[in-house]
Subunit: 319 residues, 4 copies
């Protein structure tokens, strides 16, 4: 393999730039040429492809978002879209591709691999929901953004002795809510992986009040219900008046944390190594504190599980 | 005057603790005793009052919220509520009161002053909407919280080439939206003080697209309309698809900026000086970069104006 | 005037990019062309000059440093250097120049103006030491960087009940030390404008210990002496053991605060207006909360004074 | 075991408070009483011990430093000191102790265990240098503090096209320098575990210049040499002029990151479980992404190694 491409796809996440930088520089270090594809798979279809030198990825490691831009691309799901992309890749002599993104992005990489273009997946998403890896790039930054928000809201909650409901991202995965709730000292954490128990929740709030708690913070992953719905439920079924905060898109941005930069660097470099093996189809991940590559398709047959020991600990510590 | 009280009231704002610290220590420096009243006017009614020493306000200057707690207090609007408060003040020998808060808090201070208890107002609110002062304590911190959020959202907006609507606090005052929009490089800023012109807004968005803008950021003060309403309007009347973000309560919290700590310190100290003059009824403020005290009642007859030169400049610079 | 240049010179300061953006966009708004000069006066001498469009200054308002680069340039002090610069300006048709920087930069602007090329100065320096303006661009950001450092060191100082000496920038001007000391709750602040009194300082430290202070923070401007020298003095003349921290270059960097971005925007736009008057020789500033332009040469005959009321207040509040 | 103590010892590190909170609340959850010991082993010797309820550790998870204070305590190395401590523990009925700190603190825990008082160690140090655990509490926060500093200095380095040497903590362990260098995009990283090669370093700097690098950042762990010594070497042996920055004590403070709060919570809770087994002598750690306890004495016979794959990667990526 003498020439490869790299793209970012799906929702952007902080640390993607570290991964792009690592792919480019590790590629150059290995003696191959690396081309950037702009705006995800759409750029592959449109031929928005250009060569990247070491200097082109200088001064991006500290920036949020992705310097290669990203986009959703429904056209790439179609056979016709994939053929256009492959034509452009051949035109530029690209023999392999590193795809940085979430599970939708991985599906594209699998499709390309099956059509004979080796592609490798790097997990870039704040949701931490890619099967086969303990952590994804962007999770740590999003987590710290959430706890900074919790800390700010706690100032107000404490000053006014109020109960706050904070809605965080996570349609199917509760990792962000769970870690943020534990790190933020939340009284209650609602995650999609755990059945919602309103009575237990009201019970805990009452106990907290009796113990003299000045304020209470509830974290809810958007996949469970919206903060507003929860507030309505609480005001109907108990006398708990709450304020709500929906953190929204700030969770995707910001300068990446050290860990996400290191993770992005490790994963990007490993992706180049995996690609150079020639077959494609691997996903890069961190398992038990070690960087690994593994079969993407096999991993997607398994379901990722949230760490319930964190959930249980958060209950024990928020007494 | 030998003994005074200090309370924080209404919505909390970062820097209130610097003001409390300054009232206590300036009081002690002037040879008087200072008592903290907890949970605003409610604490005055309930007699939650205790003496503060210099050490009691150590290590609070850097904290958000208010160490004296705050609360809304409808009872204090009534004559009976005020009499209860005055009785508690007399009981503790308090001859004057420093009130840190927004315009509702000022009304309480005026009521007390009229009943013979000299009270002085210190402007503590993130809205920057107190007549007679150029700046209020908490505005600068809230402003920086907002631009950090804008910076994060810009990462995502740029990566996806999207238009974002960001809703910030400000029911009647557009200062926060205006300053944040100018500092955040927003394309459009909607404030309550300026008539909303949908056609002009759409026109600007179109021009930006033609010029090749990768993304667009619209700041809307909550007093104009909600981000969701604006998004609906834009999708109805143009082909602009937007994402929204409602910043909400994070705007009230956080460690105060240097400026808010200095402002709080200056205002708290000046409040003690004003109170020692004996009459009460003054508000403390910053006018033309100088700390002043002025007649609270007179000032409230005037309407505070937003600085339209900032508004015009933001339009010129967001071409 | 149809075509002007803009450069940044001397030590960089956060907010310079906001000023550059404002010069470019205000210029375009006024119907003139704006050229960027790279690496300060050196770029003028070397002819590193190129046209800037509105889009070229997009997405820089939030970045620290200067997108136009900066450099010291001894050659520009010479007549020969200035003639080379003027030749390059004429070659590119530049009829005026906006210079963003500190006092050395202003001297260059005055020299050019005297030679018939109108130049205007915009105060960009973290030291807040330009005569004729209350604030310079970058001061507020540096100040907040310093208080974040103080807050971190206070964590350690409190945990270990130690006395810390923190050295901040400021050879001749104590503004940064003074504001940071007041905002950071420092016990003692040493500034170049105030005679150093070791006995008084030791006396205050002793009193604090007696009152039960858990820790003590001393801020010293580098122009008074180094933190190490002060630590040596204290260990010789008293039994106070101290730890030192020299903040150094982190004080120059970082994403600018809201205030520095607004100041940069206001100053940059006003500089274009001043330049269009045709004569040059003005400095832009903020006086009593209003943007002004004033005669640069006259102002430099006066000496800037630090606000001693802040100094006195900090003493009263750190009892 | 019905009653245990908890103390923090040695240099403070962010996240210690999360560990203290977890020890207290997990203890209460398990039905035992937990007592706080103030100022480390010194407090044990002096009998500064008092009971902690769940509410006493509320609102500390987000704070830097340690709410239990810390101190060095040479007296505890002596047999007499240890006996005093044990006497105070017996007086308060403490049957076990959780010690949060670095390797010095662990030695104390081993001594107590040998004298029949079960003690368990929790790794709290920014240096990440405790044998037997992949991560220590405080390392992640310190790391992020360092990269924020690097990001700020990079602004200035880029603007002026300069080479900077940044000295970070780490007498014997290079983890902080290594991770920060990789995350900060440093060109060169000097760690105690790797022999210093001046020629190689100068060679890399020269290559970077030739490739057109606008700036260069060198990270040096204090255990290798001081930034000043390195600057002197570089100016003697090459024509590289450098600026230096010594980050110092800011590296110990600051609100802990999410990861350090989670780590502190996990470790604190596990320490209680380990102590309840009755023997003492265990250290708590994270190995391969799992919380473990292990024999403290055995682990200290081994030498902790830095991850050289990170070192090699940083070299490959900083071409």
């Amino acid at each position: 393999m003498k020439r490869i491409g790299v793209l970012t796809s799906g929702g952007d996440s902080p640390g993607m730039n570290a991964a792009v930088r690592a792919v480019v520089r590790k590629g150059i270090f290995e003696g191959i040429e690396v081309f950037g594809v702009y705006s995800g798979y759409q750029g592959l279809i449109d031929g928005k492809i250009s060569k990247l030198e070491a200097g082109d990825v200088g001064d991006i490691i500290q920036r949020g978002g992705t310097a290669l831009y990203s986009a959703r691309c429904p056209e790439f799901i179609t056979d016709a879209g994939q053929e256009k992309a492959i034509a452009h890749m051949k035109e530029h002599g690209l023999e392999g591709l590193v795809v940085i993104g979430g599970d939708g992005s991985y599906r594209g990489a699998m499709a390309l691999t099956k059509k004979g273009i080796p592609a490798v997946g790097v997990p870039g998403t704040i949701d931490n929901d890619i099967p086969g890896t303990d952590y994804t790039i962007g999770f740590d930054t999003a987590l710290n953004t959430v706890i900074e928000a919790i800390d700010k809201i706690r100032d107000t909650a404490t000053s006014h002795e109020r109960t706050f409901i904070i809605e965080v991202m996570g349609r199917d995965a509760g990792d962000l809510a769970l870690w943020a709730g534990l790190a933020g000292g939340a009284e209650t954490i609602l995650i999609p992986e755990q059945a919602f128990d309103l009575d237990d929740m009201i019970d805990r709030l009452e106990k907290g009040k009796k113990r003299g708690k000045k304020h209470s913070i509830i974290i809810v992953a958007e996949g469970v219900m919206s903060a507003q719905e929860l507030a309505n439920l609480l005001s109907e079924k108990s006398d708990t008046e709450t304020r709500i905060s929906v953190l929204g898109h700030i969770q995707r941005g910001g300068s990446p944390t050290a860990r996400d930069r290191v993770l992005g660097s490790l994963f990007g470099a490993r992706a180049v190594e995996a690609l150079l093996k020639g077959e494609g189809g691997q996903a890069i991940g961190m398992v038990n504190n070690k960087v690994v590559d593994y079969d993407m398709e096999e991993a997607f047959k398994l379901k990722r599980k949230v760490d319930m020991s964190l959930y249980n600990l958060s209950k024990e510590l928020s007494i």
